[in-house]
């Protein structure tokens, strides 16, 4: 029997996770709509439908992410707290989680109880986020997955030094345009490096602690992970569904705090 639901409203996708007393029994990911409440509700409905249940008011739900406070049928918890709990349940040995989402990236330090001890976030700069990657892929004229393939064939990646997403874009254009043009493989690797430069700087500000795990949609991207491991000099743990970490954490918190008022 289901005990708790967690929903994570991202700028691009909304994720819902349904728990029974020990494990995940269902989950769903769908594109966020313009209306927060609606996104959250449909995500939960979908995840419930998968196990033949219907949405009803009064379910034990914790919401996190963009505008989660405005959701009427759930309690709200901060993204960092949810990430920490989710990460902790996926990899108890992880002391640091790097969350790379569509529009923001966050680095958190986690103690053995799955509590945040410090965090750094970059919600004001698209550089270093999924949206940025998508833009770049469009620019080079490849799909996200093709881009990832390319990254593995890089020989000498150029440095993309611009922090403004728009100028980074023009920097990339200039690499495409120069004679002889920089190869797509190298450009992609360059883009990855520049994104990760910002993320690694966040890690260093928080103080790197092993083990380190990656969460968020961007972590599905094998190339990013391999470059990240290279830059950090050790392996990064990646869960099967990295984009669910926060929703899972929310669900866990919901289960623990069952009965608390919204």
């Amino acid at each position: 029997m289901i005990t708790a639901i967690g929903v994570d409203i991202g700028s691009l996708t909304t994720k819902a996770v349904v728990l029974d007393d020990k494990k995940i029994v269902s989950w769903a990911v769908l594109r966020s709509s313009e209306k927060t409440e609606f996104s959250a509700r449909t995500a939960i409905e979908q995840s419930l439908q998968k196990i033949g249940l219907d949405f009803k008011i009064g379910l034990n739900i914790v919401a996190t992410g963009l505008g989660s406070k405005t959701v009427t049928f759930s309690r709200s918890k901060s993204l960092t707290a949810c990430l920490a709990r989710g990460s902790n349940s996926l990899f108890p040995q992880a002391r640091m989680a790097i969350d790379m989402g569509a529009e923001s990236s966050t680095v958190i330090r986690i103690n053995e109880r799955g509590r945040v001890t410090d965090w750094q976030s970059q919600d004001k700069c698209a550089a270093g986020t999924g949206i940025f990657l998508e833009q770049m892929a469009k620019l080079i004229g490849v799909s996200m997955s093709e881009m990832d393939e390319l990254s593995f064939q890089a020989k000498s990646p150029p440095e993309i030094t611009n922090t403004c997403a728009v100028f980074a874009e023009s920097e990339v254009i200039s690499h495409i345009h120069r004679v002889p043009a920089t190869s797509k493989e190298d450009i992609v690797a360059g883009i990855y490096r520049s994104i990760l430069g910002r993320i690694i700087s966040m890690c260093k500000r928080a103080g790197i602690q092993r083990e380190v795990m990656a969460t968020g949609g961007v972590a599905l991207n094998k190339g990013i992970i391999s470059v990240l491991s290279k830059e950090l000099g050790f392996e990064i743990l990646v869960p099967e569904n990295p984009q669910l970490a926060a929703a899972l954490g929310a669900a866990i918190i919901a289960r623990e705090t069952a009965g608390e008022k919204a």
């Binding site: 030094t161 200039s174 260093k204």
Partner: protein
């Protein structure tokens, strides 16, 4: 004609050599050979640190610089935060990543916020055996001279203690002669640039200058002497679309000048702390005066940085250079968050307007090699000057 692009041939062997010294820096052969003789190497930062004392102590002074290019400064950002100038962040990152691990000491001055903090985090996170930051007054009054002298003397004492070596008056005298020789030779080099057709480009000049503080002076002087002879009657000469002067923040990347010169503007002089402000004004010893006083006096009252008061002195010397080098236009390049220079922009604008000298303001990051946007500005600046010459 828009096609007059200046491409530095770098064919002269000495320039090639200096280039290789710069490319291999900090681990270049000159420094490593010196170190291999069991001698000490000290890193200094900023033109308000007297090199003579380090030389007099039988050690090698090496100027601390960052990566000569724009690069990801993730350590710099983490330790000095994103809002200190990219120069200090770049220097620190090199230090933290061990590029300067061969240094026996670092010496700085309380010259600007960026430098102060660079040394604060350096002391905390990079352990270099010898460490000192001199108080550098922002005035050149007699009181200021006295204070700075006391700092230079304490520096001397600390060096002696650290090296277990007494720096004699004669040591200082020899050091002054050596450094003055370098200054004299660099002055000669600049004299050549006053010609209407110069035997050397701005990019090449900066290549030489950056080498001058990355190798022993004696060996540098020897090479530069040969080069001067070669340049004196060199068949290759340059005459750009316009004669430019470069002013502003610290700059040690010849590629930046090259990208300016490729648009056709020839850089003939500058006000950079890596160039003119580094070599101008020799140490002059008035008879009877202790050498160290002469040294201290030269370093505090040398061609001033924007940190000094009053700014007028700096502006006057810029004007003088414009006249002496027949400068058509001035390019001011200021590193983001280089507040001392940024604050002078409104004042400098007025000075230049009054003197009817066109001025182009560029804000850059340290190590920039000249982006498309920068080239566009420079090209437009040149076209603007040409339109008005007509």
């Amino acid at each position: 004609m828009t096609d007059t692009t200046i491409i530095s041939p770098n064919n002269l062997p000495e320039i090639e050599y200096f280039h290789s010294i710069n490319r291999a820096f900090p681990g270049n052969s000159e420094i490593m050979d010196f170190k291999a003789q069991g001698k000490k190497v000290f890193g200094w930062l900023c033109t308000y640190v007297p090199e003579e004392l380090i030389v007099a102590a039988g050690a090698l002074p090496v100027r601390i610089t960052g990566y000569g290019r724009e690069t990801d400064l993730d350590d710099g950002n983490a330790y000095l935060y994103i809002n200190n100038c990219s120069f200090s962040r770049s220097c620190f990152q090199r230090g933290l990543r061990g590029d300067y691990s061969f240094l026996d000491g670092v010496v700085g001055g309380s010259t600007c916020d960026g430098a102060r903090r660079l040394f604060d985090v350096w002391r905390r996170y990079i352990n270099t055996p010898f460490y000192q930051v001199l108080t550098v007054p922002r005035k050149t009054t007699d009181d200021a001279q006295a204070l700075y002298l006391s700092q230079v003397i304490s520096f001397k004492q600390n060096l002696e203690e650290f090296l277990g070596f007494e720096i004699t008056e004669q040591n200082l005298l020899n050091a002054v002669e050596l450094c003055n020789e370098t200054r004299g030779l660099l002055k000669k080099l600049y004299e050549l640039r006053k010609r209407l057709e110069t035997p050397i480009t701005g990019a090449q000049t900066l290549e030489i200058l950056t080498a001058s503080f990355r190798m022993p002076k004696a060996s540098f002087n020897a090479k530069l002497k040969h080069l001067l002879v070669a340049l004196e009657n060199s068949p290759v000469t340059y005459k750009g679309r316009a004669r430019l002067m470069l002013v502003g923040s610290v700059m040690d990347n010849p590629e930046f000048l090259q990208s300016i010169e490729e648009t056709g503007g020839l850089v003939v002089t500058d006000e950079l702390c890596t160039s003119t402000r580094y070599w101008s004004d020799p140490v002059i010893i008035n008879n009877g005066e202790p050498v160290i006083n002469a040294i201290a006096h030269r370093y505090l009252s040398n061609f001033p940085c924007a940190r000094m008061y009053p700014s007028e002195e700096r502006f006057d010397r810029i004007m003088a250079l414009c006249r002496d080098f027949k400068v058509d236009g001035v390019i001011s390049q200021i590193i983001r968050y280089c507040v001392p220079y940024a604050h002078d922009v409104p004042l400098l604008n007025d000075k230049m307007k009054a003197a009817k000298i066109p001025l182009l303001n560029l804000d850059v990051e340290y190590g920039s090699s000249g982006s498309g946007q920068i080239r566009t500005r420079v090209q437009a600046f040149l076209e603007m000057m040409e339109a008005h010459k007509k």
